[in-house]
């Protein structure tokens, strides 16, 4: 047990230490040239205490930093009564989150990887202003409590991305991949990038009205972010969620089954325990369109008379990190795929949109299920792409528009946008409101 927990035991009712040490190396290319190498060696710690029944917290660089415990105790003097106890001893699932080879990656290895991507892409797209990068992170996370929790995890993450703006345009195509192990360039991803980049040589603006829309995995955040905001136990508790009192009722199309799966094999986001030291497990959120339940951390769970679901994370919709208080949030949200290829689904669209991203999501009323974004993607006519979208917005409400989903693709990919975790298939929505010509 870390000495600060031993010290805290003398002066507080309970204490919890979160300590994260990470070492990362990243290389970045812009317009086909190596621009920068970044190497970070960072420690971050947070301490929560309960003293005289009240909760306090403090943040620091190292656990033995002067004033760390005193700041937490001062915070507790002003804090609200704690309705919960910090985690106790628990058995955690065994997860393969650490890869010895990935842990040894150096900047030269990441440069070699990027040069390989560059070489393959430049053969087919000699004039594209290619950007790319690769990153390796090695992390040690410790969560200890005065109640006996002692959670420790070593993990590695290796990732790469590449992209390019369409010629003369503000938007472009972007692909990425990540995992626990040393990265291998995925040729399918490269081929798809080349195809999509070439689709964007022309622009097209659909007319204003309702049209079928297919979301790529990267664009699935348009549905997932409002849903996850609504399923957060905090929003349910405060009755700001449109899903309050809807457990057991259909809220989305019966084609949709959605889990939070922290145990997702090979995922760099997989976790055996949450940021409170509570064991994680796979949990159904929506099954065949029917809402299964909300997610809780210890604080919100206690307020609602529900145990933590192992979803107490230092993450919110738009931020994460040591200084973010623990909230109910997701680890690896996954949508179960369908059985038809996305290309076959696209070929069935008479006129519609293939959406790869959306700008301005955070300005909308997303907690209520609504979104209105500038559409990034392609215009489809008679099953074929006729150009990249220009001057086009799409809008809708997931609890109305995502009741009617035509199909889900058999392929899945990493979710994008603000999520950057989990997996999703392509989602073909019967129609969304489009503002174009």
């Amino acid at each position: 047990m870390h000495p600060i927990i031993e010290n805290a035991k003398q002066t507080t009712d309970q204490a919890e230490l979160y300590w994260n040490r990470s070492h990362s190396i990243a290389v970045r290319y812009e317009n086909c040239r190596l621009q920068q190498v970044t190497e970070n060696d960072v420690s971050e710690a947070s301490l929560r205490v309960i003293k005289q029944g009240k909760l306090g917290s403090a943040y620091a660089v190292f656990p033995d930093q002067e004033g760390f415990l005193d700041n937490a105790i001062t915070s507790a003097a002003y804090g609200d009564p704690a309705q919960f106890s910090f985690a106790g001893q628990a058995d955690y699932p065994q997860l393969a989150t650490y890869d010895e080879d990935a842990a040894q990656l150096q900047s030269a290895d990441l440069i070699t990887l990027c040069e390989s991507i560059k070489s393959k892409l430049q053969k087919q797209l000699p004039n594209a202003a290619l950007g790319m990068g690769a990153k390796h992170v090695r992390t040690e996370l410790t969560i200890q409590t005065s109640n006996g929790a002692n959670a420790e995890a070593k993990s590695t993450e290796a990732s790469y991305y590449f992209g390019a703006p369409f010629r003369g345009a503000g938007t472009g195509v972007f692909k990425f991949a990540s995992g626990v192990s040393s990265p291998v360039v995925n040729d399918r991803l490269l081929d798809e990038f080349v195809e999509w980049y070439n689709w964007g040589n022309r622009t097209s603006t659909p007319s204003t009205g309702r049209l079928p829309v297919m979301l790529t995995p990267q664009a699935s955040f348009l549905m997932m972010m409002p849903l996850l905001a609504g399923v957060s136990g905090d929003a349910v508790w405060k009755k700001t969620s449109p899903l309050t009192d809807k457990i057991g009722e259909p809220v989305l199309s019966d084609r949709l089954t959605i889990h939070d799966n922290p145990l997702l094999a090979g995922s760099a986001d997989a976790r055996a325990f949450d940021d409170e030291g509570v064991p994680c497990h796979k949990r159904a959120i929506v099954k065949n369109g029917v809402l299964q339940g909300a997610i809780f951390d210890q604080r919100v769970g206690a307020a609602m008379g529900h145990p933590s679901t192992g979803n107490g994370f230092k993450r919110t919709m738009f931020g994460s990190g040591n200084e973010t208080p623990v909230n109910p949030w997701f680890c690896c949200p996954t949508i179960e795929p369908g059985d038809t290829s996305w290309r076959k689904l696209m070929s069935s669209i008479k006129e519609g949109l293939l959406i790869t991203g959306g700008m301005g999501f955070h300005s909308g009323n997303y907690p209520q299920g609504q979104f209105a974004v500038q559409a990034v993607g392609f215009h489809i006519i008679d099953g074929e792409v006729v150009g990249r979208l220009d001057k086009t917005m799409i809008s809708g409400n997931i609890y109305e528009d995502f009741q009617k989903i035509g199909a889900l693709s058999s392929e899945t990919g990493p979710s994008g946008g603000f999520l950057a975790l989990g997996e999703s298939p392509y989602i073909l929505v019967d129609s969304l409101q489009v503002a174009g010509r």
């Binding site: 970045r28 812009e30 317009n31 040239r33 190596l34 621009q35 920068q36 190498v37 970044t38 190497e39 970070n40 060696d41 960072v42 306090g56 917290s57 403090a58 943040y59 620091a60 660089v61 190292f62 930093q65 700041n71 915070s75 002003y78 804090g79 609200d80 900047s107 030269a108 440069i111 202003a129 950007g131 990068g133 703006p165 003369g168 345009a169 503000g170 938007t171 204003t208 905090d234 405060k238 009755k239 700001t240 200084e323 208080p325 700008m359 301005g360 955070h362 300005s363 009323n365 907690p367 609504q370 209105a372 974004v373 500038q374 220009d390 001057k391 917005m393 799409i394 809008s395 503002a435």
Partner: protein, 459 residues
């Protein structure tokens, strides 16, 4: 410590190197509804080193100051590795050597205000919001950030400086049947504690709007002429134009670099835009940037013509343009990137009534609600709005997001008001090729403006 760090950078075999060491203190008090969820003090420290060697660049952040030397040496080696692969070598523009201190001295220093007073103030505003029967929850936040920084570089600069940003901000959440609406409020946003006090009337106006929105209709999708209030037009010029004036975003983007040559006509002669770190008491005001260059005023658009842009020492060298003092990092885990200070549209001659009466069918949009940009594409939201019919303000509307393309929208900016106003709370998210940096110290100002055509997403 200053001389130790100075020795570290001066001993490196680099073309140029600098090191920034920070001691940061944050105080954060958060109410969510009736619940006081956080009263926290954060003490962090650490360093960030940058090295240019052999025409390449590398950077590193570290927590342990005792490791500054070996980390700086490794960073210099990485820079050489980058340089080996580059035919086009990176350089930094020369800048004055500065050996000065720039310490903050607000009229009421938040560092000298007791935690108890800060908590009482936050509680007071939160309770005022909760008293309204339409309010179902709140988020009320007291947010104080103070940073003491040491900057040294291989040119010989040794600079000590302080940054302070303090504010109370929050969200009012109202509900009627199935309609839930959110309206923001923000007081303060600069170095001084005094503007946080006695803001009850301002808060009451925001609560009233959050209640009125419950009976408003959603906006209708389509392309419309719009009048933007100063808060909205500040976000518009920040998102749509400001980010494209940050040279690090253009540096490796040949097509936009070609489109944005100085001297290009971007708008009508009524349009004048500047970035100004020297304006007092605004969120984005500062004396020295995180690259050791003084903050200054930079004209960006003069009489409708592109007249300047914001730079780092690296981009100033590459573009052959003057330094602008716009390099900033939110804290030690981040490298400085080119950021707006206080961007503003300067006053024109039109009145608000002139603008509204010139529109037959459009919208008046009020209250910044964030935005996003990618190249010449931009979006931004409005907290509320009003339909304009036959030259007059009509019914209130809600759930408004709009988008456009920079060059056509600047040309379509047809009227500029005479009533410049700056937002109190700053804020801007930018990655600049690295992790997202949420910068509190980014101000926005503008008068009312009229744009002839904007795409609005809605029902």
């Amino acid at each position: 410590m200053n001389s130790t760090f100075a020795n570290v950078v001066s001993s490196l075999p680099a073309d140029y190197a600098d090191l920034r060491f920070e001691e940061n203190r944050k105080v954060r008090i958060v109410y969510e509804g009736k619940e006081l969820t956080q009263v926290a003090t954060t003490l962090t420290s650490g360093g960030h080193v940058r090295a240019y060697a052999n025409g390449g660049k590398a950077i590193a952040s570290f927590s342990d100051p005792g490791r500054a030397g070996p980390i700086a040496e490794a960073t210099c080696s990485s820079a050489m590795l980058v340089g080996n692969s580059r035919e086009k070598k990176l350089k930094v523009a020369s800048a004055p050597v500065i050996t000065e201190s720039f310490l903050a001295s607000p009229s009421r220093d938040p560092r000298k205000v007791s935690l108890n007073e800060k908590l009482e103030l936050t509680t007071h505003y939160n309770e005022l919001v909760l008293r309204n029967p339409n309010v179902i929850t709140t988020q009320t936040v007291y947010d104080e950030f103070t940073s003491r920084r040491i900057f040294v570089n291989s040119d010989g600069s040794i600079i000590e400086y302080e940054l302070i940003n303090v504010g109370v901000f929050g969200m009012i959440v109202t509900k009627k049947r199935d309609v839930v609406q959110r309206v923001r409020f923000a007081f303060g946003g600069n170095t001084d504690f005094a503007p946080l006090l006695n803001r009850e009337q301002d808060l009451a106006k925001q609560i009233e709007k959050a209640c009125e929105l419950l009976d408003a209709e959603p906006a209708k999708a389509g392309v419309y002429p719009v009048v933007l209030d100063p808060s909205e037009s500040g976000v518009f010029i920040h998102e749509a134009f400001g980010h494209l004036s940050e040279a690090d975003g253009l540096q490796n983007n040949p097509s936009f670099r070609a489109k944005l040559q100085l001297g290009k006509t971007l708008g009508k002669p009524i349009l004048n835009v500047a970035d100004d770190a020297t304006l007092e008491g605004l969120p984005g005001s500062f004396e020295i940037d995180d690259e050791g260059v003084r903050g200054m005023r930079t004209p960006l658009i003069t009489d409708g013509v592109l007249s300047g842009r914001m730079h780092s020492r690296e981009t100033a060298a590459e573009f052959g343009e003057p330094l602008s003092g716009n390099m900033r990092a939110v804290d030690v885990q981040f490298t400085p990137i080119v950021r707006m200070s206080n961007i503003l549209i300067e006053a024109g001659n039109s009145t608000f009534d002139d603008m509204v009466s010139s529109i037959d069918d459009g919208y008046y949009l009020v209250g910044a609600k964030g935005g996003q940009t990618s190249g010449d594409q931009f979006t931004f939201g409005a907290q509320w709005g009003y339909r304009i019919k036959g030259g007059k303000l009509a019914s209130m509307v809600r759930d408004i997001n709009m988008s456009g393309e920079l060059f056509s929208t600047l040309q379509a900016t047809s009227m500029i008001g005479n009533d410049v106003k700056f937002g109190e709370r700053g804020g801007c998210g930018k990655g600049g090729g690295g992790p997202m940096q949420m910068n509190r110290k980014s101000g926005k100002g503008s008068p009312h403006i009229k744009i002839d055509a904007v795409t609005i997403g809605g029902i």
